[in-house]
Amino acid sequence: MTKPEVIADPATGEATGQASGHPFGAGSQPGGPQVLLVDDDEVNLLLTSFALGERGFRVTAAGSGAQALVSLVEQAPDIIVLDALMPEMDGFQTCREIRGTPGYENVPILILTGLDDDASIARAYDAGATDFYVKAPQWSLLGGRLHYLLRASRTRIELERSKAKLARAQDLARMGSFEWRRLSGSGLTMSQEALRVLGLGTQETVSVRTLVRMVNKDERRVLLRQLHGALRRASTLTTDVSLLLLDGRQRIIHVEAEPEFNERGQGAGYSGIVQDVTERRVAEDKIRQLANFDALTGLPNRRQLLWRAERALEQARRMHHLCALLLIDLDRFKIINDTLGHGAGDELLVEVGRRLRSCVRHSDQVMDGAAETLGLRFHRALEAVGRLGGDEFVALLPEVADEADAQRVAQRVLDSLREPIFVSGQECFVTASVGVALFPRDGNTVVDLLRNSDVAMYSAKSQGKNSSAVYSPTLAGRGRAKLELETALHKAIERDELVLHYQPKIDVHGAKMAGAEALMRWQRGGKLVPPCDFIPLAEETGLIVPLSEWALREAAKQARVWKDKVGFADSIAVNMPSRLFERSDLVEHIHQCVTAVNVPHRVIQLEITEDNLMKELQNVIPALHRLNEIGVEISIDDFGTGYSSLAYLTTLPISELKIDRSFVRDLGITPQSSAVVTAIIALARSLGLRVVAEGVETLRQMEVLHRLGCGLMQGFLFSRAVPSAELLNWLEQTVLPRRAPWIAVARTGQSPSELQGPAPSRRTH
């Protein structure tokens, strides 16, 4: 700016613009504050314009109130200076009009009055003026006053803005502020935002009493205690309260307040904020629930259990009592899951969870701060059943009197599962194996206790399941050995540590070998591990699948070798677990094994135990048919020990029954054995199946079997399972030269005196 611009001649009211041509105020800075100067006296208008221009203001001069109002539309002055006494519309009236103009509610307005005019001063404030100024020719004073008003105005604008920002931020954060004074009327002042948070109208006044009444009844007493406590100590107040707002909404409000003190250092009141934290709390609760509880059963999860167990151990250490951890693992859960589907499996787990929790004093929630509230009884609240994952549950008993106490709970767990569980419209009988570990005897840390209860649980399983076992250090040794075995078995195939040994099947009548059964052996570090030591583990871990596939490949290769060497044209039987029959690629795998060495499919025979077959019958049947179609014969192993459905037996595509060694062993000792053997032979005959007797160790057994009509046998009498090279030797040195004693007996059909069988066996013939 710079130059005063008189927009109208003060005397005539005509627009003149007379001052606009003057380069007044050369010393003022461009962009200085814009002043609207209103005075009916031309001389004063000019003088004041010059004076203010000189001091850096940009001046717009108006000769009357009416002109001032017009100029407001065109200009946006930063400040307005009005002469109080003007003809027609005086300064006060003009001031009122300006204040009523939108956008000018807060523009600073200075009213010029005479020195002896006290009444005008009061009128000026009434009309909404920011300040008054007594006319004087000391221009620098006027300039100073204008600068002061402008600065105050800017500060006020900034304050308003930051207030608005704060209000917006508080609204977004669902937050508002309040003040409470100890010794004043209602005492409580709440910001509009705070009122909104509480669902109240922004004009409403609210008392502490009203607010307390909104608090849920069961929390009210606690809150009042907190309030009084904070007041008494003049301490900070931080709490979350559940409010039932007047509009019926249930919200959780976070309150945080700081005490304020008077000049004598006494608590004068509080100032603070209220914040609606409902969503946050709901989300936090959800997170806590997800983080600490199993989604399926609603029981504490591994994390929560470990946390509780840690707390329980701390307490047990402090109070010198015992603490027990029960690891509960369902027996054969996988079978249920596989046969009934995962949905049913889940249903079952939920019911099991429900029953298990009834076996202990289960607490779902351990509240934060429960340790302080419950004190010495805190650890009891930790007692719970949780789910570690899968079909594994843990019962945490934070205080037990002795081992027997823990065992009683273990028994309660087993008992709780005695009743069948209905899933998918079916009755399921579930059992569990429970391992018990006690603090401090069986471990000082949660990890140790878990591991040792696991060891105990496995021991319970290996002792026939549906039982419990308490940890002992000897169990742990066994467990470690097993773990090592498992690791080593994993590497056995790639290290070529597995071998097949072969036991010949003997056609007694023809005194010749009529095939062989391949039996797996593991040469581990120079020692031969017997199958009973690693096959169950292989089945348990699933390693049985690659092991069996390897066995098929080896058997096919061996058949080729023997064919080339001795014209072998029979089959080699390989033992197959039922799970291999369920694999869709079994047929393809066998096909590859035999074609790779160019032997017919029939050189491979598969043996499946009767137990295995019957358990998985429906799943196995399709594979049996396909195998039969390509010429692979199926033999049923250990026949007579399981519960075969004879009806099924007539329709299954099987070729051979192998009489279980237990019947053979007792032949000639118990009459029942020969009765069973006779029955099996009769059955096989009528179904057109071959019969092979296993475990033949004596000439007497051989003779009886032969007499009963079973001509195919296996057993130590002929040969144990031996490496393939040895088998060839045996053939060459024993069978072909017909040197073995059994050959003589078989050929002559003579009964050695010691072969006199018991009467019943003869009767069955």
Binding site: A11, H22, F24, A26, D41, E42, V43, L47, A51, L85
Partner: protein
């Protein structure tokens, strides 16, 4: 109040101190502030004299008009250094406030006399 209690002697010239203050607004005279302000004062004063003359011849003078002129002239005459007129205006204003219903002829005459003197002084100043 001090102005009315202690009226300065009438002078034919304008107060030097007031004129100095005017000059301070435009120290090197580049903007002709003094001349412009005196010119504006002269024309404003002449207009007011016309109004006062009319009031003097009116049957009943309008106290509001007279008071308004006194108020306006009070500060503008003080600004240009016509101190005697400024005192007279203040005096009239006070008297009218203290005794609103009074006969106005002496006041109007007083203002006219002082105005004529001031006008002469301003014109002389402008001529110089």
């Amino acid at each position: 109040m001090a102005l009315t209690n202690d009226p300065p002697p009438r002078t034919s010239g304008l107060d030097a101190q007031a004129l100095d203050r005017l000059r301070e607004l435009d120290p090197d005279g580049r903007h002709g502030v003094v001349h412009r302000v005196l010119t504006a004062f002269e024309s404003s004063l002449a207009r007011m004299c016309t109004v006062l003359e009319a009031q003097a011849h009116a049957e009943v003078a309008d106290a509001g008009v007279v008071n308004g002129i006194a108020h306006t002239l009070k500060s503008s005459s003080a600004s240009v250094g016509a101190l005697s007129l400024a005192h007279a205006c203040a005096d009239v204003e006070l008297r009218l406030r203290l005794n609103p219903g009074r006969e106005l002829t002496p006041e109007i005459q007083q203002l006219l006399d002082e105005s004529a003197a001031a006008l002469a002084a301003v014109r002389a100043m402008l001529r110089s």
